[in-house]
Amino acid sequence: MSRLKPSATGLKPWLAFGLPLAAVVLVGWAIYWLGWWQQGAVHVVLWQRDLYHALTSAITEIDRAPGVTTWGVLLGVSFGYGVFHAAGPGHGKVVLSTYLASQGGAWKRAIALSALASLLQGVMAIALIAVLVFGLGWLTRQAMASVDQAETVSFLLVALVGLWLCVRSLRRLYRATFAGSAVASEPAALTGRYRFDVVAPRNGTTLASHRPDPFVRSAAPAPGANEQGANEQGADLRGTHEHGAHCGCGHDHHVDPDTASDWRGALLTVLSIGIRPCSGAVLLLGASALLGQFGKGVVAVMAMSLGTALTVSSLALLSVFARDWVQRRLSPMASRHPWQAWVGLAGGALILALGLSLSLAQWQRGEAPGAPLLGSPTAQSTEAPVSGPFTRG
């Protein structure tokens, strides 16, 4: 995959960029004008509704008649519920797309982060019921209300991710401005490494070898570079990149702190998204626990998470591809300039704004809003936060 040549080498750059862009704009405009996207969105809601009904009956059915068929239905419906549940807009997807589009990251990374975030949401739901209901003896309704708290934590973490990305970008800009052109390329080098770290040649200190982007013609590595790159790929894939300064691999180690912080940022992003369990999953687990089917509920929630991962990673891939494509067409030499740090700053600022506005909205909303049916559980328990089972989550 590494030695792909730009397919549009022979075309004039503006044509290579302009034609597909025009096509995309035209198609997008047509879809908008015909109202397809609106119909699509309404249909997603209707499918979500139908799948919820199906999920409820699937759990009940498997309780009555466990078998291959009922298991198949349960897993299929759970998976579908995950796919369509994630198809609606949510802050997690916005955060992840913005993060990937502005901070860089290979498609593998996009998939890994999406899958991790989705699975974490499922695991959180399972942990919530296991700890609160089984461990602490809370009522399912009270456990469901705690999703609200998890949501607040999630929003605050999102703001934290944004703030942290801003600070990092500002530091890079500062260094780029005051430390000369060699360091100015650092953000780009980082991005390039992550995108193609598997084949990244690392045997030089020149700009070209530090930005091993196969799509950039000037980045052709020296013969023999691949070997060294291959030797290192294991370390890089683990994201730890631990080798001593005298290992002879020949590249500057001043990048490493950023690499590590990049991974910390990625994991923090995953955490900020995944810490908020899906309230549908919590309800499913609670109800299945009450039916004495907790194990089956857990399996269903994991299938659900897989479905969610599918949708979220598709979206993440889309944003990565879009970013790479624009980057290739518009700015083959962009690596020499700190503009990527500016984009990183813009992305960080957007995530920060999103996190703050969501937290603020949560804070202004205060305690549980008027639940349609039940304001608060009639149970006299005071040890657990209480609010209606039908509060928004």
């Binding site: 969105a41 109800a287 009450l290 944003s319 503009w339 984009v343 639940a371």
Partner: protein, 225 residues
């Protein structure tokens, strides 16, 4: 380079803007199967809507867990009654999730009475009588009602057959109606562009998009002149 930065950045902004502005569709996290009976008085006027709400199995489970966890020496029927009162009080603040119109004009509601809460099979069933503020003459008139959760967190649908395609005959009935009165349940047919419009508006103005109305069924009661 500046140009490419602007374009790249604006593309990113556009992407995020789309993500943010797309309506936060609240899809249902539970549902209620409803059936309604139009109750007429001796003068042939519509006096009340008797409603029965069957909570979905999950929600019923969760509420039953709570009912049985109480340790205050009350009996189950007493607990269910208390629950019914609580639900009634909650609903009272929201017009009982019911809107009624006569020939298109809003009809005022009286106070809910005769609430009853019971467990039937794996479902919690809440029923009540919703009187109209004053009985309305029906001869030659068209009365429509809609029962929905504005936030669409709970979906409210008339009792229907297994695949939900057709409402059951018992979903909307009449008691004591003059001869010739008829009923019909109109399925929701959300207009996508209006749903979108509302989603965007509501989101910026009040925080929560109120989409329930677009997905609500309409019950129609018609009487000949």
């Amino acid at each position: 380079m500046i140009r490419s930065f602007y374009r790249w950045g604006s593309g990113l902004l556009a992407l995020v803007a789309v993500g943010l502005s797309s309506p936060a569709f609240a899809h249902p996290h539970g549902w209620v199967d409803i059936s309604v009976e139009g109750v007429f008085d001796e003068a042939g006027r519509l006096a009340a809507l008797r409603q029965q709400w069957r909570m979905d199995p999950f929600y019923s489970q969760v509420v039953m867990e709570e009912m049985s966890s109480l340790d205050d020496g009350t009996t189950m029927p007493e607990r269910l009654d208390a629950l019914g009162v609580e639900i009634r009080n909650n609903l009272a603040t929201q017009d009982n999730l019911t809107t009624i119109t006569l020939d298109g004009a809003p009809v005022a509601q009286g106070e809910v009475r005769n609430t009853n809460t019971e467990v039937r099979g794996d479902r919690l069933v809440f029923s009540f009588v919703l009187p109209l503020a004053s009985p309305v003459p029906m001869a030659g008139h068209e009365l429509d009602y809609r029962i929905f959760d504005p936030t669409y967190y709970i979906e409210m649908v008339h009792e229907a057959n297994a695949d939900g395609s057709e409402p059951l005959p018992g979903a909307l009935t009449l008691a004591g109606a003059p001869a010739g009165c008829s009923t019909h349940i109109v399925k929701a047919d959300p207009d996508p562009s209006k749903v979108m419009e509302a989603a965007m508006l509501d989101k910026t103005e009040s925080g929560e998009p109120n989409l329930g109305r677009f997905f609500a069924e309409t019950g129609e009661i018609r009487c000949p002149a």
